[in-house]
Each structure stands twice: as structure tokens, then as C-alpha cells.
């Protein structure tokens, strides 16, 4: 399975929650929290659900709450992908 890159994640985030006019998703966001990116609970759930659908990675409820930044998501998904 191919690796999830930050750019993949960016496009997935755009699909999940659109783009807030005040936030530049193309900027240096890898360690910015989703909260600071103005992601509410529904946006995070939508992103987790798209990861599952499009990348086949199931993110359990209790884990989803701990993935607070794009880096955490990339690490989690790519570790799981490596095992599969």
C-alpha cells in the first residue's frame, strides 16, 4: 500500500472540511493542531471516515481523539500501512 503523504492529507482535508479563508492549508501545517486549523469535531470525524474509505485504515474512536496534528495522522496511517 502506498504511503500517505502530507499532500494526500491536504487534499483529503479539503474534501473533508473545505478550506477556511483565513487558513493556508498549503503552508507549514504538519505540526499545527487540527483545532488551530479550525477543525471542529465533525470535520475530524469526516476526515477519519475518509481515511478509512479511501486508504483502508480504520481509525478507532479512542485513537481518533488522540490524533491532534497532521503529523500524528501520517504516522498512524503509515505505520499501519507498513504492517499490512
Amino acid at each position: 500500500m502506498k504511503e500517505l503523504t502530507l499532500d494526500d492529507l491536504r487534499s483529503l482535508m479539503r474534501l473533508s472540511a473545505g478550506e477556511d479563508e483565513s487558513i493556508d492549508l498549503d503552508g507549514d501545517i504538519i505540526d499545527t493542531t487540527f483545532k488551530d486549523l479550525a477543525y471542529d469535531s465533525l470535520a475530524v470525524l469526516e476526515m477519519a471516515s475518509r481515511l478509512e474509505r479511501d486508504w483502508g485504515v480504520i481509525v478507532p474512536d479512542e485513537v481518533a481523539a488522540t490524533l491532534e496534528t497532521p503529523r500524528a495522522v501520517l504516522d498512524y496511517v503509515n505505520e499501519r500501512a507498513a504492517v499490512n
Binding site: S16, G18, E19, D20, E21, L42, A43, L45, E46, S49
Partner: protein, 414 residues
């Protein structure tokens, strides 16, 4: 006693144009905005024409975050609300949060969004249904999003009575003002076009299957053969007159002077339909005699039976050819919950400019319909009061009376 509610801001998203002025000038020029459906491949359907608001794009007009989590219907309402608030010169952040309410009408909810998610469910499985289905599809989505976006924490509501619902939203706005609010975002929009949405509409048997846009929707014509649907609507800012004055509102388009709603009995009862009663009650509440009314915006269902019923009620209440009647919706199609609020917007502009917008496409009025239909060309006319009629599928009737702000009549205070 509260002072009569006034309308101080208009936002329009319609097939005829974006914004009240674009819609108004297209309407006065008699520009038909009905065409072959382009939102999806429609050639395959028995109904192929509609009034689409093609110039409307969400991107750049709706906050980016709201686009994926709301349906097209809500997108249009959000932009129309922006327009209406700007038109009224209202800054919501400067008004008391509990004194601003939101009451919109919906008819079919988030049709396109809902079809997309239900398709995901049935073709791929439950895990493919997205997180926003729970907040985008249901009928309350638009009111909720408007309330959140503008920080309006007063009474919020959603009414559904098919085409009659938009007038009901204004009546409910009036009640909210009576209870102490100063401003209500009211009216409605509708976006009924997805393949499944259209399929549901076709089943009512009242739509025109004529594929030529010029011939498809001809209410009161000898060739009337059904209605054409449209998308869009209008959002209206309704304020307590004294509050509007106090904040220095620059424009008052008109006064909501009377409203009534009735319901037709089941056919088997043999009792008469109730539209006439709605019209009479609304006039009585406005304190107006039929002779005081300068124009009637007709429901114009477009089927012979329903057209006849409406023409007979108008002639019975106002006398044969007793009042100018118009149906500018012949240019947009019927917008369901968005339709009558657009008619209200159009009537207010007619009041402002002393000109009646035309009905298009009626070549041969049914000879025994005793109505003075304004056809093809606008008609100069001082408008001190206007009656808007709306009927909703299944027997809903509603009538709303608007009065010009400078009119000397006192109806509307209650």
C-alpha cells in the same frame, strides 16, 4: 401593542438573477429563465425543463468550511441572507443576540446532498456515509446554519407547507417579533434538482412534460399543461417597525399587514376548498377591502383545474377583472419553499417602483377566467397594497397582504 412588522432587507437567488436588482430588471423585461436542466443529464426524464439559478456558485460566496457540510439549498440561503442583511444595513454583531431570530421555510431539504450519501450507503455500505449527512439533509439545516453564522440566538424555527410554507415563515416571524424580538431572518430557498429529487416531483402528476421552455409553464392559458419547477428563493429581513426606526434603517420596503392559512378538506367530504377563506381572512386582518388591493400575485399552479379554482376565487373576491393579477413565476418556475418569498420580494419592488411585473408565456387566456392578467409587458401602477397567494401540494392555502410603508392605512398593527 407592537407596531406592524416591516421588511427592511431583501436577498434574492433566483433563475432570473442574483441579487434583488438583477432579478427585478430581468423580471420587468420579461426574461424567461426556464431552460433544459443542466445540473444533471436530464434527457432521460419525462420532465426536462426547469428554472435553474445557473449564475450561482458557492465557491467564493459561501465560507469555505460550510461548503462541504451543507447542501446547495443552504448555500443559496446563506448567500441570500448575506445580501438581505447588507441591504437592510444590519450588523448582527451590534444587536442583542436574543432579539434576533431565524425562521425559514423548507420543502424538500437537502435533496442533492441526501441522494449522494444514500447512494454511498447503498452502493458501498454504511461506513461510506459522511459525517455531514446528519446536519445537511434535514429540513432544519438552513435555519441552524444561519443562526450560527450570524450569532442569532433568539427564537429559531422551520416551517414546511410545500409552496405555502414561505408565507407561513413570515407569519411566524411576525409572532416572534410580537414576543419581543426586534429582527427575524425569514423566507426560504429550495434546491430540488437531483435525479432522485426530480423523480419524486414527477410522481405528483402536476408537472409539465413539455420540453420546449417557452411552452412548458403557461398558467391560466388554454394550453396549460402543468408546472415547471425552479430553484432559489428569497431571504427577507423582518423587523419591528419601531426597532427599525430606532436603529436608523434607511429602507422600509413594506409592511406585513395580514396573513391567513387554511387547508382544503379531503375531496370525499364534498366540502368546498378553502382558498377563498384564506384570502378573505388575510384581507380582514389587514383591514383592507378588496377594492384597496392594487395587485394580486397569483399562485399560478399551471394545471387547468387548479388555475380555474384560483381564477374563480380572485374573481369572486375582487369582482370580474377587478384587480390586476400577475405571475412572474412564469419566468422562474415554481420554487416551492423559495417561491412565495420571491413573490413577496418582487411585490415589494413593484411597490417601490410603481410598476407591475408581467406574466409571460400566456398566449390565450381561458375565456371564462375573469381575471385581469398582466401579460408580457410591465404595467405602470401605483401599488399601495399587494396580495400574495400560495398553495402547497395536498391542500395548503396561504395569503399574505403587504402594504406600502407610506400608505395611510393602519392594518397590520395587532
Amino acid at each position: 401593542m407592537t407596531t406592524a412588522p416591516v421588511i427592511t432587507g431583501i436577498g434574492v437567488i433566483a433563475p432570473t438573477g442574483l441579487g434583488a436588482e438583477a432579478h427585478w430588471s430581468a423580471t420587468l423585461s420579461g426574461t424567461r429563465a426556464i431552460d433544459t436542466i443542466r445540473r444533471f443529464e436530464s434527457g432521460y426524464y419525462p420532465v426536462r425543463v426547469a428554472g435553474e439559478a445557473r449564475n450561482f456558485v458557492a465557491t467564493g460566496n459561501v465560507p469555505g468550511r460550510l461548503i462541504p457540510q451543507t447542501d446547495h439549498w443552504t448555500h443559496m440561503a446563506l448567500v441570500a441572507t448575506d445580501m438581505a442583511l447588507a441591504d437592510a444595513g444590519v450588523d448582527p454583531s451590534a444587536l442583542p443576540e436574543y432579539e434576533m431570530g431565524v425562521v425559514t421555510a423548507s420543502s424538500a431539504g437537502g435533496v442533492e446532498f441526501g441522494q449522494r450519501e444514500i447512494q454511498e450507503l447503498w452502493s458501498k455500505g454504511p461506513r461510506h456515509v459522511g459525517a455531514y449527512q446528519s446536519i445537511a439533509w434535514f429540513y432544519a439545516a438552513t435555519t441552524g446554519q444561519i443562526s450560527i453564522r450570524y450569532g442569532m440566538r433568539g427564537p429559531c424555527g422551520v416551517v414546511v407547507a410545500e409552496q405555502a410554507g414561505a408565507l407561513e415563515s413570515l407569519a411566524q416571524a411576525r409572532r416572534v417579533l410580537e414576543d419581543g424580538a426586534r429582527l427575524v431572518v425569514s423566507g426560504g430557498t429550495e434546491a430540488p434538482f437531483s435525479p432522485y429529487g426530480l423523480t419524486c416531483q414527477i410522481s405528483n402528476g402536476l408537472m409539465s412534460t413539455q420540453g420546449d421552455p417557452a411552452l412548458a409553464y403557461r398558467p391560466f392559458d388554454t394550453g396549460a399543461n402543468g408546472y415547471v419547477a425552479g430553484e432559489g428563493g428569497a431571504i427577507l429581513i423582518v423587523e419591528d417597525a419601531a426597532s427599525a426606526r430606532a436603529r436608523g434603517a434607511e429602507k422600509v420596503y413594506g409592511v406585513i399587514a395580514g396573513h391567513a392559512a387554511t387547508f382544503d378538506p379531503a375531496p370525499a367530504t364534498g366540502r368546498p376548498p378553502a382558498l377563498r377563506r384564506a384570502v378573505e381572512l388575510a384581507l380582514a386582518e389587514a383591514g383592507l377591502a378588496p377594492g384597496d388591493v392594487d395587485v394580486v400575485f397569483a399562485d399560478a399552479a399551471g394545471t387547468p383545474e387548479l388555475d380555474r379554482a384560483e381564477a374563480e376565487v380572485i374573481a369572486a373576491v375582487f369582482g370580474a377583472h377587478g384587480v390586476p393579477v400577475t405571475a412572474p413565476k412564469t419566468m422562474t418556475g415554481r420554487l416551492y419553499a423559495g417561491g412565495p418569498s420571491l413573490d413577496v420580494a418582487t411585490a415589494l419592488l413593484a411597490m417601490r417602483d410603481s410598476v407591475l411585473p408581467p406574466t409571460v408565456g400566456v398566449a390565450e387566456l381561458v375565456p371564462d377566467y375573469e381575471i385581469d392578467l398582466v401579460r408580457d409587458e410591465p404595467r405602470p401602477c401605483r401599488v399601495r397594497s399587494a396580495l400574495i397567494i400560495a398553495r402547497g401540494y395536498g391542500g395548503f392555502n396561504a395569503a399574505l397582504v403587504l402594504r406600502a410603508p407610506n400608505s395611510t392605512a393602519t392594518g397590520g398593527d395587532r
